[in-house]
């Protein structure tokens, strides 16, 4: 037997593991990354939507593109990424055992980073073991990695960002999403993610959960019912749907077993998603030189996982003497600031589960958005991105304080203002003339920006909306305008379809609708 040695061994080639590998290799460490999957990237390659944040967080770049960038950067720096390599054990003195092919191999790391991510939670109900009940992440893997439709008629349980994003992607893949259900009384994820699902016509059932999945060989239907404040079913509220698939998006649990096995001090921390290692601000556990980053140390988003990975990679370089304290401190400050930027606003960790009733600007939040998935007509006017000027102009239906600002830089005329405080709601400067270029529409990761022209021709106006479905409608096509709830409200004619590399696959569809519909129509459906 022989044992290979590395300066840094990383377990998990996801966003945090690859980011750590890059930072460490850049500082001269010999780095290897093991991943049990046949493809690298962790969850990144399943993320076909544009990310939120600012430039430094790679905002408006699609997740899988970020994955490609990380892999390329790691390769250029000489990082070895070993796939189909399952770490089956971690022992004293940072020794790991890896299954590769038909053999097990031993490796010794002078430092180790565990970046194993998380696994999907399940809930049980009658029939939950029937084929057709799957995790939302599994559905995403099937459609976005393997090109397989998970089902035709689908019910989604869970209104967090995973449930919302995957519901939208199921619609994009051509599935019908019959309902989005959550036992909680309010939508858990970003309002903009909810709004883009709702305007496609998916009904939201908050304070509801699944009673039973029906079928003998596989799922053929599902019954949901309303729950009271103690999560007990309310008799008489049952609703049935014919479905062939039930997706569960009910949270994630850190896959921290390797750390427990190695003897790290652990804690059960519900705020972090379960069993997590106790670690310091660099991600170093109770065992010196053993680091963690990403979901394994607390469930968050890929954007924060990447920064945690960078910090851990730099800390490993310091631990092994490749950099001095000064560089560690400087780099830590820089990354910590970026991390703090992501952890603010309405969805900041300290607000988890709380109802934030007013925005930072003092505006009442849209309760309809939280309860039905879309902003009601009598709520929309109070947000600073919603204005009425002559000619074409943006209408920004961004109503929650989330750390995201690409729209501000997108406008060549600088008519969208967020300011230095990244969570501020975007405001439209009515004194600057909009040229209708649509860059803001395409730049909004939440697909919440529309261009509205109330006086296109007598009696008619236009709405330009972001459109990420195929087949792409053609100029001259006739169909219907759907309102924010997905209800048909008027006839609509496609008058322009724009695509451009700068839009990165967010097509701009301009529809002509009656003038009184320009503030109502938010989606287009072909005849």
């Amino acid at each position: 037997m022989s044992m290979k040695r590395y300066d840094l061994i990383i377990v998990g080639a996801g966003p945090s593991g690859l980011s750590a590998a890059i930072e460490a290799a850049r500082r001269g460490l010999k780095v290897v990354v093991f991943d049990e999957n046949e493809k690298p990237g962790g969850q990144l390659f399943k993320q076909i939507h544009k990310f939120f944040g600012s430039k430094e967080h790679k905002a408006k770049v699609r997740g899988f593109v970020i994955g490609q960038q990380l892999l390329q950067e790691a390769a250029e720096l000489g990082v070895e990424v070993v796939l189909n390599a399952t770490v089956v054990g971690m022992y004293m003195d940072k020794e790991i055992v890896v299954k590769m092919g038909e053999e097990v191999h031993h490796f010794k790391g002078d430092s180790i980073l565990i970046a194993t991510g998380a696994a999907e939670n399940m809930v049980t109900f009658d029939g939950w073991t029937l084929p057709g009940v799957i995790g939302a992440g599994a559905a995403q893997t099937m459609m976005n990695l393997h090109g397989i439709k998970p089902g035709s008629k689908i019910l989604m349980l869970g209104s967090g960002n995973v449930g919302l994003v995957v519901s939208y992607q199921l619609l994009q893949a051509g599935c019908e999403v019959v309902a989005l259900v959550d036992a909680a009384p309010r939508v858990g994820g970003y309002g903009v993610h909810a709004a883009k699902v709702a305007r496609c016509g998916v009904p939201f059932y908050l304070s509801h959960t699944i009673m039973k999945a029906e079928g003998t060989e596989c799922v053929t239907g599902v019954t949901i019912a309303q729950v009271d404040s103690h999560f007990k079913f309310i008799p008489g509220t049952e609703k049935h749907f014919d479905v062939d698939t039930i997706c569960l998006a009910v949270g994630l649990s850190p896959m921290s077993q390797l750390l427990k096995m190695a003897g790290c001090e652990m804690e059960d921390n519900p705020r972090r998603g379960g069993q997590v290692p106790i670690c310091d601000e660099y991600g170093e556990t109770s065992i010196k030189g053993l680091f963690v980053a990403g979901d394994v140390s607390g469930i968050e988003e890929a954007s924060s996982a990447m920064i945690e990975g960078r910090i851990a990679g730099i800390a490993a370089a310091y631990y092994l003497g490749y950099i001095d304290k000064e560089e560690l401190d400087a780099k830590y400050q820089e990354n910590q600031a970026a991390l703090a930027g992501l952890r603010q606003g309405m969805f900041a960790p300290e607000n988890r589960g709380k109802l934030v009733e007013k925005t930072e600007e003092g505006i009442d939040v849209s309760m309809n958005l939280l309860e039905k998935g879309f902003i009601a007509e009598d709520e929309i006017e109070r947000f600073p991105g919603v204005t009425h000027t002559k000619g074409i102009h943006p209408v920004i239906e961004c109503s929650q304080n989330i750390p995201c600002n690409p729209c501000q830089d997108a406008c060549p005329k600088h008519c969208i203002k967020i300011g230095s405080h990244i969570t501020a709601l975007p405001a439209v400067d009515e004194n600057v003339e909009c040229v209708g270029c649509g860059m803001c529409v395409a730049s909004c990761s939440g697909q919440a920006i529309f261009l509205v022209q109330e006086d296109y021709e007598p009696g008619y106006g236009t709405v330009t909306l972001p459109y990420e479905f195929l087949p792409l409608p053609q100029k001259g096509d006739k169909g219907f305008g759907l309102d924010r709830s997905g209800k048909k409200v008027c006839e609509a004619e496609v008058v322009q379809v724009r695509t451009s590399p700068a839009f990165d696959h967010t097509n701009l569809l301009t529809i002509k609708v009656p003038s009184d519909m320009v503030m109502k129509a938010r989606f287009y459906k072909a005849e």
Partner: protein, 114 residues
Amino acid sequence: MTMENIYDRAITLGEYVPEPDDDRIICRCEEITKGEIRRAVHDGMYTITEIRRYLRTGMGLCQGQTCAKLVKSIVARELEVSPAVLEPATSRSPMRPIEMKIFAQEAKEVGDNV
């Protein structure tokens, strides 16, 4: 109940009262039902490790990836404690299912140790 007195077997949990969903499978790999887990607690299995050895929950193909949290919440509810006070099952190698012939097959190549 606190963590210490989970080990106090003198505590009585009261009668085992059947529940309508007792026949629901919780551990899919080993096909263990909710009722079996609840009954195991009443049989004196108060820790996750004991439950595991008694019923084989979490010892199948997925190694508890799916059911660990579910089993924990059922046991905690039966003991009337927070799930957070229950130690999870011991983590040991192999972390993932592996054929014994592979587990015993150590790579022979001479490494390029540096």
